[in-house]
Amino acid sequence: MTMIYKESMIWTGISKLGSLKLTPVILALVGIGAAISYRNEGTTTWAMALPLFLVALNILAAVLTNKKFHRNKPLLIFHLALIAVVVLVALGRLTYLRGHVELTEGEEFSSQLAEVEKGPWHWGNLNLVSFANEGFTVQYSSGVKVKKIENSIRWRDEEGKEQQGVIGGLVPLKLHGYKFYPSANKGFAPTFIWRPKKGGSPMLGSVHLPSYPMHEYRQALAWTPPASETNLWIMLQFDEVILDPAQPSLFRAPRNYQLIVRSGEQRWQLKPGESVTLPDGVLEFEGLRNWMGYSMVYDFTLPWILAAAMLAVGSMAAYFWSKFTSRPWDK
């Protein structure tokens, strides 16, 4: 007796939670939540998360208690697909990774180089990724607008085989669930050979000057050679116009350039192949290479969100189709 009474209480509770009268209120909260997170630049996740949780709760309770859902399968599928989208988006937020990595021509990717931001449950393995930047071209149309990015790369595929190819634009490198997109954030990389005074093998290293052409007039940087104590300031100098706003052009290293190197009061001008002797070693300027900035993303939920969203639209269309064709609007 009391059991049945309790059950019916719970049932009444669920059907109240699933009331269609609540739905517009909750949908209004979603709208308000979106506006709040927009005004606060997305820092207020709860303003979206809470109403969306209520949407899911409202739909689930309605699915259990509203007879309309039992009679009408497309309507049921539509609302379940809607919950699936919400859940998948949330899962994506918890497991995503996005980041940025800069690689000099000839340099190999390593997960230490990357700056990343990721969800608390990220379960990919960035350490398995192996690829190298083999050089790139960026074409500009007049007005210095990026037209096409083509980046040659070499990578080890998931079976461990060496592969070669070109990525850029809408074609990223896809490896172990990660995607790498070469970007318009790229620049020049003076490359050096450093011979420490205490002996040991010479080291090859490069410095990424600020992005070009974004920081066209700031092609300088403070830098300390590896395993050295000498603080340097280096600046790239050249006179050529690389990207001419008046016509289509191609990003490339200048043909004639020199490197200004300063340490304290001392100042040198280096051409490729020249070197300077510093207190703790010899720095040889090998020449100029380019560096490419890649944006990286990982989100396994994408195809599933797409599938759920398509299912939602498809079933919504089916629902309306049968509803409208069963009765003309003016009858």
Binding site: K21, L27, V30, A34, W329
Partner: protein, 272 residues
């Protein structure tokens, strides 16, 4: 040469649209039904408008979707196209032309004031998803426009001006049903617009949704459509309230389409 022909065809099309609208308004005021004439003006205008868009596309090398001028040029075209189809298929609501055409006139005025520079296509635009996305968006706005015309009739009928002018049209309940069927169709296309837009953003920018101004406004519009459908179902709103909701949807969609790109430069052009 082509620029000349392009402009002439455009002017001719705009004049025909003005004729269609004025004829429709006079029809309502004078209680006449010059419906075939209105439809003829619309269709000939559309043909000329199509020629303009084609010539311009050929000349500048990209479709009309980059700057404000081009967006207005192509949206006036799609709105007239969808409205003409509704006008042709739904004789009962032809009087709505007197309300719908003035909305289009506004867009036409804006078109004439905006700068028709050729523009450059950002590299994120080289994808089929963009065309699909834009196509769905245009159908969405078009269906909402037709619904707004119907809502306008429902609201006007209650005022003094109407003087029984719309009395021969179906009653409010039926018009309300029709306008919400259009909202339903609109919601399907709007959802498809959001999905394809997300696919495009994912491909081009590596993120499917970023709450940029346009995305936020589009989402608010979408949620408001769902809200209206549910409010109408659960609270049995009157045709009058329903009509106001449809007008709000149109205003939101309108701001998303033309307001946001107008105030925030290039929110939709990606990393360019």
């Amino acid at each position: 040469m082509t620029a000349g022909l392009e402009l002439q065809a455009l002017w001719a099309a705009l004049v025909l649209y003005v004729l269609a609208g004025s004829t429709a308004i006079f029809g309502v005021v004078l209680r006449r039904k010059p419906e075939r004439m209105v439809l003829a003006f619309l269709i000939i205008g559309l043909v000329l408008h199509t020629i303009t868009i084609g010539l311009r596309w050929e000349r500048v090398g990209h479709g009309p979707y980059i700057n404000m001028y081009e967006m207005l040029l192509s949206n006036i075209w799609s709105l007239i196209l969808i409205y003409s189809i509704a006008y042709w298929r739904l004789p009962a609501i032809r009087a709505t032309a007197a309300l719908v055409m003035p909305i289009i006139f506004m867009l036409m005025g804006w078109l004439l004031m905006s700068n028709p520079y050729d523009g450059n296509e950002p590299n994120t635009y080289h994808t089929i998803w963009m065309f699909i996305h834009i196509g769905f968006a245009k159908v969405f706005l078009g269906t909402v426009l037709v619904a707004v015309g119907i809502s306008g009739i429902i609201l006007l009928r209650q005022g003094r001006f109407s003087g029984g002018r719309f009395a021969r049209m179906p009653d409010d309940k039926k018009l309300d049903e029709l306008s919400f069927r259009l909202m339903a169709i609109g919601l399907i296309f709007e959802s498809l617009m959001l999905i394809t837009g997300a696919i495009w953003a994912q491909d081009a920018l590596g993120r499917y949704w970023n709450w940029d101004p346009l995305e936020t406004w589009a989402f608010l519009t979408w949620i408001f459509v769902a809200f209206s459908l549910h409010l109408r179902l659960a609270y049995k709103t009157t045709p009058r309230t329903s009509s106001y909701m449809i007008i709000v949807v149109f205003v939101l969609a309108f701001l998303t389409f033309f307001g946001v790109p107008f105030v925030t430069p290039a929110p939709h052009q990606g990393i360019g």
